[in-house]
Amino acid sequence: MSEPAPLVYLVDDDEAVRKGLARLIASAGYRVATFDSARAFLGRGGADAGPACLVLDVQMPDLSGLDLQRELDAAESIMPIVFVTGHGDIPMSVRAMKAGAADFLTKPVDEEQLLGAIGLAVARAARDSAERAERDAVRRRFGSLTPREREVMALVVTGRLNKQIAHELGTVEQTVKVHRMRVMAKMQADSLADLVRLAEKAGIPRPRDR
């Protein structure tokens, strides 16, 4: 593979800590981009190429680590965050984890812990981006369905028979069969189970069961 190494963002206001951690992470083969404040990180611009994670200090002047986490959440970022803090207490860590942090480590941070967390985070990032890509694809396929086909699909995934669907929609079974075939093809589903899974993945709402 000629994919670039995964990118690790590092935000810490302490220069020595930044340099040390950056060196360590780089020595493990990652690409590292360092920022001395949350604002600097937010203003970095450019799209992320490939999976990336964020190693984040908590106690920082101006915007703290937790503040940044909130900001990223609001922007629907899926970048996993590994918190590294010199002052860890339980309430803080609980807050961070609840808000979706990948991990919460205390300084001085052990290399195995850190690199392990980063590895996991990067993998998750990759997985998440893959999942997102897939969902987007499914959504696109769903978007390509006609309104009638969508109706049919919604009923099909409930496990109704074609006959029932025809009766509900006020059409003949044959029409339903045709629509069904078209849905299966457009959605690239191999089986009913597949279709159901895809529907769930795309977040398609289920109609009320009768």
Binding site: A16, G20, R23, G86, H87
Partner: protein, 791 residues
């Protein structure tokens, strides 16, 4: 021929005698050598060498006339013959002669005096005159007379009559002649007079002064021509006093009749005895004797114009001063002999009378002394012992006074000494009683550092005796740990003769060691001599303990503050530790790679080292703050102190979202104080500032520390926050102990801070800001030993 003889005589004179005779000879020569050829010969004579040397003296001698030169033998005296007209023993002539000799005494040897007495009073016949003249001629045949001086009119008459016979061409001075005598004759040339004037007027005035109620003057006089002349003078004077004074004369009576008359004279009258040379009976009279008899028997005071009568009993008068006349006559003699115009001398002083008063007569007639005119001379005053032995009495008196003074001085000195001793004893007693009753321990030492005195208080405190403590015995009670410092300090200050204060432990009588503060001061005698030391001590154990407690409390507060900061301090340490660990682990990884990136390894290790130092700095700051120990006053760098505290609080500030701003003036002088305690203050104030801003919105939390000079001798430190501020009634109450608005803590922090600042000589205050929040500020003294730091 005569000229040559004369010249030879002149040469002899130069060699043998003096210039005076030379000049006389030369005068003669000059007189005889009036012709020109004679002059030429004279000049030829002088050219002879043997006369060149005395030529100078000759010239001087000619110029000076009779003046002798010191190096030449004195000239021969001039001869003056005095012819006295009366007896030798009359006081008038005696006075006259005294006056003459007085004047001639100023130039001794210049004049030789001869005196002859005509005694015309007793020898009146013409034959006696002739005999006298022959006598004089015979006597003075061989002698050259240079001047004749006569005394009284009779002598004057004689001189005039026999002048050509006895002393032709000799100048004559007629003394003691009256004006009318002179007026009745035309005196030939070469004759001058020194007249008498009898001051009857002055006598009468004196009489009126002494006897203010005087009415009548009885004049006793004689019948000779002389007497009549005198009477006329008296009458003239008496006329002037009419009508106040009447007068009558008794001249025609016999002596006994006169005496009878005088005996019966009424009060308010006087007797004026005018000259009585010859009375009505034709007898020659001794005027003096008569004066005495009259004075004795007269019923009233007798006045006269002759001084001799005064001594016989006359009360007084304006009496002729024969001595003055003698002086004037002598001056005239000198002047005449020196060829000076005698008349000029004569004009000098015609009035030679003195007011004389007879003291005994004054007393006899009971006339008060106060009536004596101030210009009158008093005669016959009995010499009191004072008069006679004036100098001896004065000396004795002075001697006595000196003796008495000495005695008085000695007595005073004795009294003074006794007083001083008494004062000294009293002051000793007072000192002792004060020393023993004072509730302090008092000691004294001599110039040799050994102690000489301990008061009751000291002895009671230590429970020892004076003998035990004297000298260096007191050191046995000093705590062994303090002994070296105590004796060392004492010795050092003693040598410098300066006051000191030291603290040490002294064993009390119950064997407990108590903290003593000992103040010693040097003693000097009034003359500046060093006498030793005197000191007082107080048991201040409780105070000492209190101070210790305070220090412990401050320490505890510091530790507590550290405790509060533990979290952020741990964070402070964690940063460098993290960096160290990361860098080290990174280095390990680099080393394990296939191609070792040595540069990375080196950089990593370098960061490890510097971060290790950073960590130790944090530890240092912490340790400095929690240090427990004695206060050390030293010069301080305030900027460094403040920055250290700010570093310590950095993590805490970040954690609480506070921005810390430091504004420190440039080139600040070093302050003076205890570093640990001052850091404690700044730390406390900053932590309070952080607390104050807890409720403030983040982003508006700013704590500022400012250091500026406050005048030339102090620095001002302010710590301000942008929090909620203080209530105005709390501005001072916050400094009270146990005052707190926080849930935790004792609330001692600010009170301790205030105590610390006050101990540094400053004040700690709080104020609300114009905007949000409050400011705490304090001042610190500048360390004066060093100049301001240069940045």
């Amino acid at each position: 021929m005569k000229l040559r003889t004369d010249l030879r005589r002149a040469a002899c004179s130069i060699r043998e005698s003096g210039i005076a005779s030379v000049s006389k000879e030369m005068g003669v020569i000059a007189g005889t050598a009036a012709t020109r050829p004679a002059l030429r010969r004279l000049l030829w004579f002088f050219r002879r060498s043997e006369l060149l040397v005395p030529l100078v003296f000759l010239a001087a001698g000619l110029a000076n006339g009779a003046q002798p030169v010191a190096t030449v033998a004195p000239p021969a005296p001039q001869t003056v013959l005095i012819i006295d007209g009366e007896r030798h023993d009359l006081s008038g002539f005696r006075s006259f002669e005294t006056g003459i000799r007085e004047v001639f005494a100023s130039r001794p040897g210049a004049i030789e005096l001869f005196v002859e007495h005509l005694d015309a009073g007793r020898f009146s016949a013409a034959q006696s005159r002739q005999a006298f003249a022959r006598f004089v001629q015979a006597r003075y045949a061989a002698r050259k007379i240079d001047l004749v001086l006569t005394f009284t009119e009779s002598a004057a008459e004689f001189a005039l009559a026999h002048r050509s016979q006895l002393f032709p061409r000799v100048p004559v001075v007629l003394a003691a002649v009256s004006h009318e005598w002179e007026g009745a004759r035309a005196l030939p040339a070469g004759i001058v007079t020194a007249p008498i004037e009898y001051d009857f007027r002055g006598t009468l005035e004196l009489a009126l002064t002494l006897q203010p109620d005087l009415r009548e003057v009885v004049v006793v006089h004689g019948t000779s021509d002389y007497d009549r002349a005198r009477l006329d003078e008296a009458r003239q004077a008496l006329e002037r006093f009419a009508p106040r004074l009447r007068y009558r004369t008794l001249g025609q009576l016999s002596l006994s009749a006169i005496e009878e008359e005088v005996r019966r004279l009424p009060r308010a009258s006087m007797v004026l005895q005018v000259s009585l040379v010859q009375n009505a009976e034709g007898k020659p009279i001794d005027g003096r004797e008569l004066a005495g008899r009259l004075a004795a028997i007269s019923a009233v005071p007798v006045y006269a114009v002759y001084e001799s009568y005064l001594y016989m009993g006359a009360l007084g008068g304006s009496m002729f001063d024969y001595t003055a006349l003698g002086r004037a006559a002598a001056a005239m003699v000198q002047g005449t002999l020196a060829r000076v115009d005698a008349s000029a001398i004569r004009a000098a002083d015609p009035h030679v009378s003195n007011l004389l008063v007879n003291w005994q007569a004054l007393k006899k007639w009971r006339i008060p002394e106060s009536r004596i005119p101030t210009d009158a001379q008093i005669r016959l005053r009995p010499l009191s012992p004072w008069d006679q032995y004036r100098y001896q009495i004065l000396l004795a008196g002075i001697g006595m006074i000196v003796l008495v003074l000495l005695i008085v001085l000695l007595l005073l000195e004795l009294a003074r000494r006794q007083r001083a001793e008494k004062t000294l004893r009293e002051s000793e007693a007072r000192f002792r009683s004060m020393a023993d009753t004072a509730p302090v321990l008092i000691w004294m030492s001599g110039p040799d550092k050994l102690c000489t005195f301990f008061n009751r208080g000291w002895l009671d405190f230590t429970g020892r005796t004076l003998e035990q403590e004297m000298g260096n015995g007191w050191t046995e009670g000093v705590h062994p740990d303090d002994l070296a410092l105590c004796t060392g300090t004492y010795a050092r200050f003693f040598d410098a003769r300066e006051s000191f204060a030291m603290e040490y432990r002294l064993r009390r009588h119950d064997s407990e060691y108590r903290w003593i503060i000992d103040n010693g001061a040097p003693r000097f005698a009034p003359d500046g001599a060093f006498l030793g030391y005197i000191g007082s001590c107080i048991d201040f154990t409780e105070h000492h303990e209190l101070q210790r407690s305070r220090q412990e409390l401050a320490h505890a507060a510091r530790v507590s503050a550290m405790g509060e900061l533990a979290g952020s301090l741990a964070h402070e340490l964690n940063q460098p530790l993290t960096a160290i660990l990361s860098n080290a682990q990174a280095a390990q990884r680099f080393m394990a790679a296939e191609t070792i990136d040595l540069r990375e390894v080196r950089e990593s290790l370098g960061d490890v080292v510097s971060e290790g130092k950073r960590a130790s700095e944090v530890i240092r700051r912490m340790r400095a703050l929690v240090r427990k120990g004695e206060i050390e006053i030293a010069p301080l760098d305030i900027e460094e102190l403040v920055r250290d505290v700010a570093e310590l609080l950095r993590s805490d500030a970040v954690m609480r979202g506070v921005r810390v701003v430091l504004e420190i003036a440039a080139a600040l002088p070093p302050a003076r104080g205890d570093r640990v305690q001052l850091q404690q203050v700044v730390l406390n104030l900053l932590m309070n500032a952080f607390d104050a801003m807890e409720k403030s919105p983040p982003g508006q939390r700013v704590a500022a520390v400012r250091v500026t000079p406050d005048g030339p001798a102090a620095l001002r430190v302010t710590v301000s926050d942008s929090g909620s501020g203080l209530n105005s009634d709390m501005l001072d109450r916050v400094f009270q102990p146990f005052h707190t608005t926080k849930r935790e803590g004792l609330g001692l922090g600010l009170s301790i801070c205030r105590t610390i600042i006050e101990a540094h000589g400053g004040r700690l205050h709080a104020e609300n800001n114009a905007g949000a929040g409050a400011t705490f500020y304090f001042t610190l003294p500048v360390d004066v030993a060093r100049p301001a730091r240069q940045t």
